[in-house]
């Protein structure tokens, strides 16, 4: 059901944990939906120097958190903001359609952590792009809770 890449990141998740005194934190998901992601970012000079996560969820949710935190590390905030759920899923060698929402959650977690940082810095919050941008994942489902 899962690609080798997903299983690799599930078995050996990178960046598990919390960052003490994180500069930005994103908490997304909902226990009723079966997945929650907490993303922690360390940011210096507009660059993400460290990223960690804690996730309650299925194999795809854990692998997406692991991959997304890998992908934003050493990126500028602008680059990290542009990381799409699709890119995360592709880097994992694809996700089953029913699991695409896990990659969406990872993107949202990164966005929330970046905006948390911007809020703390007194900067204006960046706006989510067209919320329908995930719609191309036709079969993907979003939790209604």
């Amino acid at each position: 059901m899962y690609s080798d890449k997903v299983m690799d990141h599930f078995r050996n998740p990178r960046n598990v944990g919390e960052i003490e005194n994180a500069d930005g934190i994103g908490n997304v998901g909902n226990p009723t939906c079966g997945d929650i992601m907490n993303i922690y970012l360390k940011i210096e000079n507009n660059v993400i120097t460290d990223a960690k996560f804690k996730t309650f969820g299925c194999g795809a949710a854990i692998a997406s958190s692991s991959m997304a935190t890998e992908m934003v590390r050493d990126k500028t905030l602008e680059e990290a903001w542009d990381l799409s759920n699709k890119a995360v899923a592709e880097a994992l060698g694809g996700l089953p359609p029913i699991k695409m929402h896990c990659s969406v959650l990872a993107e949202e977690g990164i966005h929330m952590a970046i905006n948390d940082y911007r809020k703390r810095q007194g900067l204006s919050l960046w706006e989510e792009k067209d919320p329908c941008s995930h719609a191309e994942e036709g079969e993907s489902q979003t939790c209604q809770h």
Binding site: Y2, M7, F10, R11, P13, V16, G17, N27, P31, T32, C33, G34, D35, I36, M37, N38, F53, K54, T55, F56, G57, C58, G59, A60, A61, I62, I98, K99, H101, Q141, C143
Partner: protein, 398 residues
């Protein structure tokens, strides 16, 4: 490096075929392959084999052999019983009573009938998964034409008070169907003593082959056919007989019901040791279903702070086969309808694990699961944002 161990604890999903059942089936593929409807001698062998199997099934249920009809399995039997009774009795009424915890073969069939104008009452269950007989009594109307309540639940293992529910149906002269797919071999069934009018069963749940099952239909029950065509099964169910499957079903049910008490004592002892071990070594867990009144091989337990699919993946890495009521393995985003019906909080349903033991499980299997499971749970809890290190203040469970 030793060979990777496989511990199969998903017997409620399906069982392997017993060696003696397989041996009984083999001649009916290539040697005694005749179509029982034909008149030459090799066809007579097939006919004889089917008659014997029908008697074996009837004996296991306390029924007459001409009340047994072979089908392709549990889903067909459920579909036939429900649609067949509904269509045959639509002039009398349009109301069907079932429960919220039925197998999807029953629930989806009822939903299908709702679209055709039938009205369905889905009885609630208590925290253990029991149907309250008073709820059934209260749900019956003059328009009720069928009551369908499962014998034992496939997820939480709860055994329903079928004889009592059947007696209520009998008192009101309403046909009573029970999906006994999980019950065969675990509970002594007597269709007369337990007031059962229709009963579904499937061979692959008790060490027989897949693709074969049966529907018991009490003599005199008004029911329409589901599968139309040739005149097989006394003109009730068309299709050339699956002879090898039927032979396998007959042999399997004879063995499975030969010593139910001995089987239950053995499986129950293994299950109890596994369950006790889990409860003693892993904190923040909740047993789903009833502590005693459950199928002998069934454990269904929720682990707080973690999700079921990730548990299954890790157990599979270690060679352990199990299942979960989490949404993440169901192909939808909704967790188990059974766990939700018992009032379990949704996050606890996502964290459920079902282990169902069977005849091939050993003490060594139990030891192995007990050596692996605590590690898997703590590993996932370590990365869960819901986990607070095991301090008090987990979920609220009734």
């Amino acid at each position: 490096m030793g060979e990777k161990r496989t511990v199969y604890m998903d017997h409620s999903a399906t069982t392997y075929v017993r060696k003696d059942v397989l041996d009984a089936m083999i001649p009916y593929f290539a040697e005694r392959f005749g179509n029982p409807s034909s008149i030459y001698h090799i066809a007579r062998d097939s006919k004889q084999a089917i008659d014997t199997a029908r008697e074996q099934v009837a004996a296991a249920l306390g029924a007459e052999s001409d009340e047994i009809y072979f089908t392709s399995g549990g889903s067909e039997s459920d579909n036939w019983a429900i649609k067949g009774i509904a269509y045959a009795n639509r002039k009398t009424g349009n109301h069907i009573i079932t429960t919220k915890i039925e197998h999807h073969a029953v629930l989806r069939t009822c939903e299908c009938l709702e679209k055709e104008g039938f009205a369905v009452t889905y009885l609630p269950v208590d925290n253990y998964g029991f149907v309250n007989p008073a709820d059934l009594e209260n749900a019956i109307t003059e328009r009720t034409i069928l009551i369908s309540i499962m014998y034992a639940n496939n997820e939480v293992g709860t055994i329903e008070p079928v004889a009592v529910l059947g007696a209520i149906a009998r008192k009101h002269e309403i046909p009573f169907h029970t999906d006994a797919v999980q019950a065969i071999g675990n509970i002594k069934i007597d269709v007369n003593a337990q007031n059962i009018d229709l009963l579904s069963l499937s061979a692959h749940k008790f060490y027989g082959p897949k693709g074969i099952g049966a529907l018991y239909i009490r003599k005199g029950t008004k029911i329409e056919n589901l599968i139309h065509g040739g005149g097989q099964e006394r003109r009730r169910r068309a299709g050339t007989e699956n002879i090898a499957g039927i032979v396998g079903l007959g042999k399997a049910i004879e063995i499975a019901t030969g010593d139910i008490e001995g089987h239950n004592n053995r499986i129950g002892a293994l299950r109890d040791r596994l369950l006790t071990g889990i409860l003693e070594t892993i904190p923040n867990v909740h047993l789903n279903g009833h502590p005693e009144n459950r199928l002998p091989g069934n454990i269904n337990i929720s682990f707080e702070f973690i999700e079921g699919e990730s548990m299954l993946l890790w157990l599979d890495e270690e060679g352990i086969c199990a299942s979960t009521g989490s949404a993440c393995t169901s192909g939808s985003l909704e967790p188990s309808h059974v766990l939700m019906a018992t009032g379990l909080p949704v996050e606890m349903s996502h964290g459920s694990l079902r282990l169902t033991l069977g005849d091939a499980n050993t003490d060594a299997d139990v030891d192995f699961v007990l050596s692996v499971l605590p590690k898997v749970v703590s590993r996932l809890r370590e990365m869960s944002p819901l986990y607070n290190g095991g301090k008090k203040g987990g979920y609220n469970v009734q």
